[in-house]
Every structure is written in C-alpha cells, then in structure tokens.
Amino acid sequence: MGGLLKMLFKTAIRNSIKYSRRSLVVAICIAISTIAMQTMDGIGEGFKISALRFMLNQQGMIVFEPAKAEPLEFAVHSISKYEDIKEEILKIIPDARISGKIFSPAIVVKDSFSIETAVTSEDDISGTIIGEKTAKMLNSEVGDTVILFGSNRYGGLSVVPAKVESTSKNFRSIRNGKGIMLPISLARMLLGWGEQEVKLVQINFDEFWRADEYTAELRGVFPDIKITSWRERLTNIEDLFKVTDFKMNTFAAIILILVAGIIMNTVLTSVLERKNDIGTLRSIGASRIYVTKMILLEILFISLIGALIGTGLSYVIIKLLSRSGFSLGEVGGVIDYMSGNLYPKIVPLKWFGHIVFAVIWAVLWSLYPVLYIVRMKPVDALKKTL
C-alpha cells in the first residue's frame, strides 16, 4: 500500500513537472480564482466592518430607553439621573462614548409662519440648528428667534424661544433638511423635564462585538431601564451584509466559472496527450481507480500550489489596499451605508476555506476529462489516434 501511494505521488509530481505548460495554466487559473475569492472576501469584510461601525455610531451600540414608552405620551416617560448613569456606564465600559438624546414633536413658529416639526437634541449641541427646508418654509435666517410650542409632561402647553445659530442641509437627524435641533436644556424646557432627564442614552465603544456582554452587565446595574444591544435592534443588518456578500460572491463566481472551463479543457488536452501512457498503465494491470487517483492527485498538487500562490498575492493586494484604504462611495448603493474609506480585512479561516474550495473546484472540473480517459478501453487508449 505504501509503495502504491509513493508511486502515485511520484508519478503525479513528475507528470506535473513534465507537462509544465499545462500545469502552469491550471495553476494560474486556480491562483486567479483564489485571488478573486479572497480579495472579494477581504473587501466584503472591510465593508461590513466599516458599514457596521458607521451604522452603530449613528444608532448606538447599546441604547438605554425608559421601560415604558407610549407613543402618545412621549413627554411623560424619561430616563432620569443621566449624569449618574454615565458614571456607572464608564465603570463597566471605560472607553464608552455616551450621548443623551431627546426627541419630541413641536410646532415651530416664526412671525406668521408655523410648521409641525421634529425636535431632536443631544447633550453635545450648544446652539439651535434649523434644517434648511424648515428655515425656508418659515422664512427664517441665522440670528432669528423662532418659537417652539410643545406639550409638556403634565399635558400643558410649553413655549420655548430659540435663537437660530446655523442652518443645516443634512445634520444627523435633520433628514432632507427638515427638523430642528435644540440644545438639550431647551429640549428639556419644551418637555417640562428636569436637568438630568433624557429620552434615550446611546453608548458607543471600540469593541462593538462585546455589546451583548456589556448589555447583560448593564442590565444587572439598571434593572428599571430598557437596555438593548445593537444585535437585538438591528436584526436586519445581516440582510444588508447578505446583499454585500451576494455582490462579492457573484463577481468571484463569474471568475470561477470561466476558470472551470479553462481547467476542464486543459486537463482534457493533457490526458489525451498522455492517452498512450494511460493505455499502457491499464494494460499492465493498473485499475481505473489507480489511474483516476494518479491524475487527480496531479491536479490536486498543481492546484494547491496555484491556490497558495494566489493566497500570497491576495495577501499583498489586501495589505496594499488596506494601508490607505479606498473609497467605495462611488460604487452604486454603497454610499448609503458608508462614510470615509474602506479598509479590506483578512479573515484567515475563510481564506483557508478558499484554498480548500479552489483545490476542490479544480479537482471537480477535472473529473470529466479523467472519467473520459479511464472509461476508455485499454486498446483504444493505446491507439495513436482518438
């Protein structure tokens, strides 16, 4: 058995060297396939991380909300003792970036113009910012004072004057230029809330994958507050990634299909060139299985070398791309989820999977030529012509 295996390996390796041109074609095909799979995966992984970071920074990796949240009682339920909560959070997540937010509807009035608008506020906003469209509709400019009418906690009417410090076309929640963003003290005044009250606490940190772990810990500390991690809230984010994966995989699949044709053709030519040798082997008692193993082992050897070369090149490509990053902003659809540059990422286990897949792919597409030749009667294989 050892002798048989040794002979199979010996013949496979020597044949791959003897028929070097064909071996090179197969190896190049597999190297290209591996590069396609691995670079697409690297870009895809980079995209996922960039998109995820961006989305989470917008929406919060962990969110605190009041345990009760009735839509019509937006002014009633709040999170109190915000500053104390911040301190406790920082004990658990030292690198946490914490932001208190308030949302409410209001009517904003300037002179004889009035519109219903969405009011937003974060604890880092120092002056009133009004959306461009809202400003246009109110005929308002920077420096003007607008009056906001809202409903306070007790069901009464609250009136808050706000001096417009700037306008914005697209500033965070002021989507499409609508809405108004207030300093948090004014927002509290509008809702009739105390100094340490907020509607929502958003927490971001570097290790976003630890969100569930932190959430569990925070729930222990704040049992009366509704705390959710991004995984619990953004359940459809996987769908976004599936779309990305699909796009990347489609590109790799096109290359794989092209490569499959070349491999099959090359192996067919190669086995037909060696038809006489195969006929000889069969005539001296080599079984069909022996010949099949011999040729497939050769393909396996060549494709493994091709896949390893491809992996080396993919590594260089990904490293070069991730050094400065590159913008995918102009590629269709991507800009919605992205900001800044994309940094491709290597996932070693997946890359190992690509190597295995590339080798299996080569062997799979070599099966037809191999089966064609081994099914041939020995006498036909020994003939000089087809």
Binding site: M1, G2, G3, L4, M7, K10, T11, R14, N15, K18, N276, D277, G279, T280, L281, R282, S283, I284, G285, A286, S287, R288, Y290, K377, P378, V379, L382
Partner: protein, 231 residues
C-alpha cells in the same frame, strides 16, 4: 491449455464501413509455447493479440483463459487477470516516460501489492537477466531503442506472468538488436518457462519460433509447429 480461441471475430466501425479485423479464428496456446503470429500489415495480428491479452473484447466467439470463459468478463476482472497473469511488450516500447527503468519494471509489482523488499529483489534479478542493470536509473528518453525494449520485456516478466504477448517487438529496432531481443525472450521462455506469443512480419524470426500461426485477412491460414516443439 492456457488460451483457447473459438470462432473469435472482431469487427471495427471505420466511419460508415465495418472492418472485419478477425474473422472467426479458432486455435489454442499451450503453456510454455513460444509462438509467433505472422502476417502482413493489416492482417489482424495486433487485434488478435489484444483479444488474447484481454485488452479488447471480441464481437463474437469465445476466449477461454485456463478453461474460464473471459469473452465477456467485466473490465475490473480483465484488469485483474492482466495484472496477475499476463505481460505485454509493445512495438513502441510504451514505457512510462516520467519513471526510471527500475521504476518502470517495478510498477507491475507495486500494482500487485508486493512488499518493497520482494519488489527490489525481483526487479534487480530481472534487470540482470535482461542485461540492463547498468541503466536502471535512466529514464526512457535517455535509452536506446534496444534498451527500452529490454526494459519493456523486463517489465512484462517481472511479476512472473503465465503468458507474455509481444506486438511486433522488433519492428522499431535494427535487425541485430531485434534479434537480441528475440533471443532474450527465447532464453526466458526456456529457462523460466514463460509462454510467449509475439507478432511479427520479419521472416527471420519465423524460424526461431516453436510454432508459427500465419494470419491473412483476419483468418489463420497456416498453423505450423516447428523446431521439434509439440503442439
């Protein structure tokens, strides 16, 4: 009786026409025979050898190997018989180009599953018997035609087959080398008792054989036992 051919026919389709390569031949080969199948090109010599060697299947008729009908056995059974009982020598030597002479000769023993020690001992012995010990590490493309054919004979004999079929083994050799090859085969036939059946259209070789089967247009036209051999 080693091989028995009964009304064996072999037809080939060549485009739209059918070629009758072998037309109902009947004869038998006994153990230890040194038989030559003579005839001009296209007379069906190679086809007959391929049929006897289980490389091909007959269109009709019966081929028996040691009394067992092998005309319609499965490919794996035929492979097994070829591996254990039959040796082949081809006109164009048919050595595996990526293997050395030693490895080419050793290959049938590996296929038979022999132990390394046994393989080495047998291969060295046959290399010596065929006078090619000095070229054991050479690859086929480094050998002369005569040397290649000796390697091919050694490969055919190394596993101790019952019968060796040689298809025009001297056709690609000069007359002197060709004669040397036949002499080696003759010697091995006498000393080892191996049955040889070879095809040729070289008249000089007819005389050496113990039996001469003459083939014309796929038919045996003469079956002569000579040189004091018994049929």
């Amino acid at each position: 009786m080693l091989i028995q051919m009964e009304k064996v026919k072999k037809d080939y389709a060549l485009g739209k026409t059918t070629v009758h390569a072998v037309r109902g031949v009947s004869f038998s080969i006994e153990e230890g025979e040194f038989a030559v199948i003579a005839g001009p090109s296209g007379s069906g010599k190679s086809t007959l050898l391929n049929l006897m060697g289980l490389l091909d299947v007959p269109t009709s008729g019966k081929i028996s190997f040691e009394g067992k009908d092998v005309s319609s056995i499965s490919e794996s059974e035929a492979t097994n018989i070829r591996k254990t009982r039959i040796g082949f020598v081809f006109q164009t030597f048919n050595l595996i180009p990526v293997l050395t002479a030693f490895e080419n000769i050793e290959l049938p023993l590996i296929l038979k599953g022999k132990e390394e020690e046994d393989r080495e001992e047998r291969t060295k012995r046959i290399l010596k018997e065929t006078g090619i010990s000095d070229i054991a590490s050479h690859k086929p493309d480094e050998l002369s035609g005569g040397q290649r054919q000796r390697v091919a004979i050694a490969r055919a004999l190394v596993s101790g087959p019952d019968i060796v079929f040689a298809d025009e083994p001297t056709a690609n050799l000069d007359s002197e080398t060709g004669m040397q090859i036949i002499k080696i085969m003759q010697k091995l036939n006498k000393t080892e008792g191996v049955t040889f059946v070879f095809s040729t259209h070289d008249p000089r070789l007819f005389k050496i054989a113990g039996r001469r089967l003459e083939l014309r247009d796929g038919r045996i036209v003469k079956d002569v036992v000579q040189n004091g051999n018994k049929k």
